[in-house]
Amino acid sequence: MEFDFAYLTAQWPALMRGLWLTVQVSALSIVLSILVGVLGAAVRVLQVPVLDKLVVGYVEFIRNTPLLAQLFFIFYGLPGLGLRLSLFWSGVLCLTLWAGAYQIENVRGGLETVGKGLREAAFSLGLSPWRFFRLVAAPMAIRVGLPSMLNTSISLLKNSSYLQAIGLAELTYVAIDRISMDFRTIEMFAAICVIYLLLVLTLSFLASRLEYRLNAPFRL
């Protein structure tokens, strides 16, 4: 069996549709998961009485259960409670909850570098809490927390391939679907491996550029 480029060109539109869905789901989930991360980390850092225990439990639970089982629970299990979500939104919810748990830890790691002394110093200079956050805490926390946040986002992109298990027609689903019809296995796998690699490497490259830019004031 030789490599058939003509087949790939013929299937290209279908693959691109899959890729588009992958990108949509991932982008939406990345944004939402960072939101979850910031909120959760705020709860942890501010030590809101009951909520912070809940956040700890949530993070532990997500980290110690397989993503696939979480996905099936959301897509097949939740309708049992009367909560029926479409394929797309089940995927977004699942990936957001999964990545959100990691983002909470990432953001918290960043915020913890802002020490108590720094806060006292800022307040004694007369900064308001909001200005302290904007001018002192956020710039430091972002520099420390950003690399791991971007790593989690890249993992989320890769894990969007889990959604093929519930039948969302993203990139991996399209490829497997075509393979089971046409048996052009090598071509399809080569195509999606290259696409995923390109996506991940581009994102990693952008991430390292961003880190470089952010750390510019600290380089000699």
Binding site: L68, A69, Y162, T172, A175, T185
Partner: protein, 238 residues
């Protein structure tokens, strides 16, 4: 509850399969990790690059694609793998890509003077690795390796996608069977139970990993009053 009792033997089989899969994967992944991870710390530049390519390749391609790849492509080369073997290979490759980084990081965390003094005492390279650097590196390697095992246990659930009857697949089958035969859908309870079981297994492992880490650090702190805190490797994501 009734569902659980009726299907108990089946469920236990699934758990055994999950355990078998996790152990087989851990076995192969450990061998490859230590082999390639150690090689990557040697002085040969090209070897380091080759290992780096291996690591990046298998970490950047989604694990699912990896497993499907082994499952679908191996037969084309005349290699008839059972689903179990295919998943073991796919997971081992992925696990070792993560393990290599742990092992490499472990050896790199051994202070330079240790290597230099060992070399100055006339020890051969393999003796340094085995008797001097190895035991020290192992302290840094073991806790993250337990973390990797947790991830492997979770990842075995992917076996369900290619037809290994492990724990998650068993849950899936029970849901389907009950829906077909008895006309009600137990998906919520079954998947909740599945999640809970994984949670118990994996959080026990995570807890053990954290305990090990504390324990090993305490030993080191006693040996050297001013212990240099090694950079914590970030938790690996599946």
């Amino acid at each position: 509850m009734d569902l659980l009792i009726r299907n108990l033997p089946f469920i236990l089989q699934g758990l055994a399969m999950t355990l078998g899969l996790a152990l087989a994967t851990l076995f192969f992944a450990t061998i490859v990790s230590f082999l390639l991870g150690t090689l990557a710390t040697l002085r040969f530049g090209w070897l380091r690059v080759a290992v780096k390519v291996y690591v990046e390749l298998f970490r950047d391609i989604p694990l699912i694609v990896n497993i499907f790849f082994v499952f679908f492509v191996a037969p084309l080369f005349g290699l008839e793998l059972s689903p179990f073997a295919a998943v073991t290979v796919g997971l081992s490759v992925w696990g070792s890509a993560n393990g290599i980084e742990i092992v490499r990081g472990g050896f790199n965390s051994v202070p330079r003077h240790q290597w230099q003094s060992a070399a100055a005492l006339g020890l051969k390279t393999w003796e340094i690795y085995l008797f001097i650097a190895g035991p020290q590196a192992l302290r840094a390697i073991l806790p993250p390796f337990v973390g990797l095992l947790t991830l492997l246990v979770q990842a075995t659930s992917l076996g369900a996608l290619v037809g290994v009857n492990e724990f998650f697949k068993v849950g899936q089958i029970i849901v389907e069977r009950t829906t077909m035969m008895e006309g009600w859908n137990p998906a919520f309870t079954v998947y909740a139970a599945v999640l809970l079981t994984y949670f118990v297994i994996c959080s026990t492992l995570s807890w053990f990993g954290r305990w090990l880490e504390r324990r090993l650090r305490r030993d080191r702190a006693q040996a050297r009053p001013k212990a240099i805190s090694a950079a914590e490797p970030a938790a690996q994501l599946p």
